[in-house]
């Protein structure tokens, strides 16, 4: 059974329906990519899973239980971390405070959390060097690393990543994908939305193409990479 299972999800903003019955599954320890044009509903899908956008139909199951009716914080506390589009820093709080807020859902006490934060500062020296600086003063790339570090420090069972490479210089894009690869190698389950479809598909065990609120194609990452219609539409030929 999949770790995260979405079945017939309907969601939108007010009267505007954006997702018209989306179904997908994320297996434990796998990476699943979602690609689609601007406005297809990729962000809305992740927001509906995290209950930022209300769902008007369908079911969401995570780790064996129904989470469709839970509020956002309860979903996150079950182990479903969401790195949102636009990174969403707590801009006037320091880098370290951003990590402390994120780690507060853990139940294993202060010492292991402090150790993990220290490990994060070693793993990402750009954050370590700026631990006492307001997060809002970081560069876009640094903010993205912090956004991912906030998710990692919460020790989630699955990660939802919404366009982590958006707006970053090529060198930073490579770094962000490196983090995704590392997290996957550690056994994290990842649902990745990316405009950088080639990079996402080449990492993906499974991939879905979302078009105007519907899944129109699914397959392994490798399969979709070889499909001419997909490459033409989302990979620039």
């Amino acid at each position: 059974m999949a770790l995260l299972e979405i079945d017939g999800l309907v969601a939108g903003y007010g009267k505007i329906e954006v997702l018209h019955g989306v179904s997908l599954a994320l297996d434990e320890g796998s990476l699943c990519a979602i690609v689609g044009a601007n406005g297809a509903g990729k962000t809305t899908l992740l927001r509906a899973i995290s209950a930022i956008v209300p769902k008007s139909g369908g079911r969401v199951r995570f780790a064996g239980s129904e989470i469709g009716a839970l509020p956002t914080h309860a979903i996150v506390r079950r182990g479903l971390a969401h790195v949102p589009e636009g990174r969403r820093m707590l801009p006037y709080m320091t880098v370290e405070e951003n990590l402390l807020v994120a780690s507060a859902i853990r139940r294993d006490g202060r010492a292991p959390i402090a150790r993990d934060i220290a490990t994060i500062f070693e793993r990402f020296p750009i954050l370590g060097a700026r631990r006492s600086v307001a997060a809002g003063s970081l560069s876009g790339g640094e903010q993205q690393v912090l956004a991912m570090a906030r998710a990692i420090v919460a020790r989630p069972r699955a990660l939802l990543l919404d366009e982590p490479s958006m707006g970053l210089a090529p060198k930073l894009v490579a770094q962000v994908f490196e983090i995704v690869r590392e997290e996957r190698a550690r056994g994290s389950s990842i649902l990745l939305v990316e405009q950088n479809a080639r990079a996402a598909l080449s990492l993906a065990d499974r991939a879905y193409v979302l078009e105007r609120g519907r899944i129109v194609l699914e397959g392994t990452g490798a399969e979709l990479l070889t499909r001419e219609d997909v490459t033409a539409a989302y990979l620039g030929g």
Binding site: I52, M89, L90, P91, Y92
Partner: protein, 292 residues
Amino acid sequence: MLAQQLANGIFLGATYALFAAGYALIFGVLDILNLAHASIFMVAAFVCLTIVLAGFPLWLGFLVALVVAGLIGVILDRVAFAPLRRRNAGTLVPLISSIGFAIVVEAVIRGIYGVNDRQFPEAVRTAPPLSLGPVTFTLFDLAILGAALALMLVLAYVMRATKIGRDIRAVAEDRIAAALLGVDIEKTIALTFFIASALGGAAGVLVGLQYNSVTFDMGGRIELKGLAVIILGGMGSVTGAVLGGFILGVTETLAIVFVGSSWRDAVAFGVMFLILVLRPGGILGRRALRTA
């Protein structure tokens, strides 16, 4: 003479600062003006008065009043703000519903205690006079100042160094980001109301003691000042509101000496107006709550 008035201004300003700190905290977190803050300020004074008149010590009355004020704040949020929040009602409608809550609270207190001015027993307020150079005051004045400063220090500590404070600041900065990091928004807002209202209640008790007068409409006198002070401090900046409270207290007492007591409010508001002309964002601007 000047030193004495400065000291009086600081004694007065400390209670303004305490009142405004709670006011600013709610504004900073929710972007709404809580116009029931002054009614909670008043209720707390009555709670303390009642406990003291029943023969219990003042410190006990003060603590109970703080807790009761905090709990009324939580009820206020549930009744007047939370339902509107769920409907995304914006910032103007909650303003009205908080006025409604205040009217009900004032009517209840008026019904129970009547319209007459109430006093604490004289024994509570008698304290040995002290002097520091040219300045004289009583131990009682000092205790009020000490209580106000201690509560503001506790607030600063909670906001800076505890999980509750971090959660409150996170919700103030970006509610969705906070929720995505696992912060329980509704619980955090309830805690914010508890803390802010307890501070407002503490200010009510201290002002009631300072003037030795507790009335059902005592909130009206401080409400406008509190509003002016949080605008002066920079909407939503708690540190700014505290500074603004002291500035107002000192300005008022100096106005009494140099211009005359009937000009007190006109001068005080005039000075605040001038500061805002020079710094339209307030003394510290919005940013400061976030770091304080």
